[in-house]
């Protein structure tokens, strides 16, 4: 099974119909384990119970960037390989990514209130994630503003690739600038600085959220394909109605002209 085999939407629908229940089940199981573990993780000696926000916040933040990465690959698929499902993937990923980014921002500011004493701080990491959120919304606006999906797909692909410049800025913003947001502690040179009792629930949650994204994304792609089919059927029906009425008026005109000629 290669990527090109999935170019046929019907085959894609059949495959995802088989895969989706398993994915959903795995997501639910992992999310339950992860939530259970993070609920019973020990309190931090400084942060107390607020450390538990991290178990939601960090996976959301990871995914906010991961989804844009997926969209960038899909955009390459649209522009370079003209893969027919690439723009479906890009389009259906955008709202999910926006939701993850929004949750990352909200959980972050809920954590920031007791810890930093403020809901919002104009620091480099927060600002760049906010820009990411705005770009997600802009992309969604672009998809909604243009009726022709293939035209919108190419424009959105260009914009997604340009916006991908923001990803390394977000990732390294904590290293490049002196920020309030703490630097990377899980994925860094020389191993994680996180204690095992926090690291394991966090990793479980990260995997669970990634599975959640894959599940939601595949389901959204199915919806998008079906929506396009419905739309093209509607268009066909509309054109059939228009055509038949046109033929009707045409014949009427013809008969009218005949009558005029006879008169």
């Amino acid at each position: 099974m290669t990527l090109i085999d999935l170019a046929n939407p019907t085959r894609f629908l059949a495959l995802t119909a088989r895969v989706l229940p398993w994915l959903a089940a795995a997501t639910i199981i992992l999310l339950t384990i992860g939530l259970y573990q993070s609920a019973f993780a020990p309190d931090d000696y400084q942060q107390g119970a607020t450390v538990k926000i991290m178990f939601i916040h960090v996976p959301n933040a990871w995914l906010s960037m991961f989804v844009w990465g997926v969209m960038s690959v899909a955009s390459l698929g649209t522009l370079v390989w003209r893969h027919p499902l690439a723009d479906v993937a890009a389009k259906s990923a955008a709202p999910i990514g926006a939701a993850f980014t929004f949750l990352a921002l909200v959980t972050g500011s809920l954590w920031g209130r007791p810890m930093w004493g403020t809901y919002w701080e104009w620091d480099a990491r927060l600002t760049s994630v906010l820009i990411l959120f705005l770009m997600y919304l802009g992309l969604m606006a672009l998809w909604r503003a243009v009726e022709d999906p293939s035209r919108a797909a190419r424009a959105a692909a260009v914009l997604t690739l340009v916006g991908a410049i923001n990803l390394p800025i977000i990732k390294f913003s904590v290293d490049w600038w002196n920020t309030l947001h703490q630097p990377a502690s899980v994925m860094r040179m020389g191993g994680s600085t996180l204690d095992k009792s926090f690291l394991i629930p966090l990793l479980v949650m990260a995997i669970a959220f990634t599975l959640l994204f894959v599940t939601l994304h595949l389901a959204a792609m199915r919806n998008e394909i079906l929506r396009r089919r419905v739309r093209s059927l509607q268009m066909m029906q509309a054109s059939r109605v228009a055509f038949s009425s046109e033929v009707g008026t045409g014949s009427r005109e013809e008969s009218a002209s005949k009558e005029a000629g006879a008169a």
Partner: protein
């Protein structure tokens, strides 16, 4: 090379003549800056503190609004098709068009800055700093805004949608432009660091902008 020079000359000439609209940008810049004291009150101390930010915002909006038509007029009279089909690479043609636009619409903004600085109670140093940062930063605005202009012509949509798409991309330029001018005027931070990042942003957009615009023109025009 001569083709590119001819393109630049032509674009500048069109922009400066009747119906061009390059100088409307300056007028808009002036209007935005004049509006600000009405909004925040005619407190001279406050205005001189906000001055760099106001000037930067005005320049950002002015360059964004004039960019809308960068490819549109050429698309309407058909010369964009000729440019796309010509032997000069489309990326270079896009870069030339953006450069011409910056010369015709961006430079007048910078020239107008000292006059507007007077209105905002900025001293010599502050005005010089803002003008210098605008000189380094407005190419970035033009070259990233060009992507939006190319999308606008391929989608037959302009205005608000393009502003929504392009403005997030111009936030870094705004941040470092204002940071550099504040550093030169008051700040304890050095002027060099934000100013070099601003120059870097301009250079990056100089490379990325033409490619993205050419890509969207090539895929979008049919």
């Amino acid at each position: 090379m001569t083709a590119l020079a001819a393109l630049i000359r032509r674009d500048i000439r069109i922009a400066l003549r009747v119906g061009g609209g390059a100088l409307i940008g300056v007028l808009f810049f002036l209007t935005v800056v004049v509006l600000m004291p009405f909004a925040v009150g005619p407190d001279l101390a406050l205005l001189s503190r906000l001055g760099p930010a106001i000037l930067w915002l005005g320049a950002l909006l002015a360059s964004l609004l004039t960019l809308d038509r960068l490819f549109m007029a050429d698309h309407e009279d058909g010369s964009l098709d000729l440019i796309t089909m010509s032997r000069t690479p489309l990326e270079l043609a896009c870069a030339a068009k953006a450069l011409a636009h910056w010369l015709a619409a961006g430079l007048p903004l910078i020239v107008a800055t000292p006059v507007l600085g007077l209105l905002l109670n900025l001293d010599m140093v502050a005005t010089g700093a803002v003008a210098l940062t605008l000189l380094a930063g407005t190419p970035a605005l033009t070259f990233t805004g060009m992507i939006g202009a190319a999308l606008a012509v391929t989608l037959h949509r302009g205005g608000l949608l393009m502003a929504v798409l392009v403005l997030p991309l111009s936030i870094p330029v705004l941040i470092f432009g204002v940071a550099a001018s504040q550093a030169a005027i008051t700040g304890p931070l050095s002027f060099g660091a934000p100013f070099s990042i601003l120059c870097a942003l301009s250079l990056v957009s100089l490379v990325v902008g033409p490619f993205a615009a050419a890509m969207s023109l090539r895929h979008g025009l049919d």
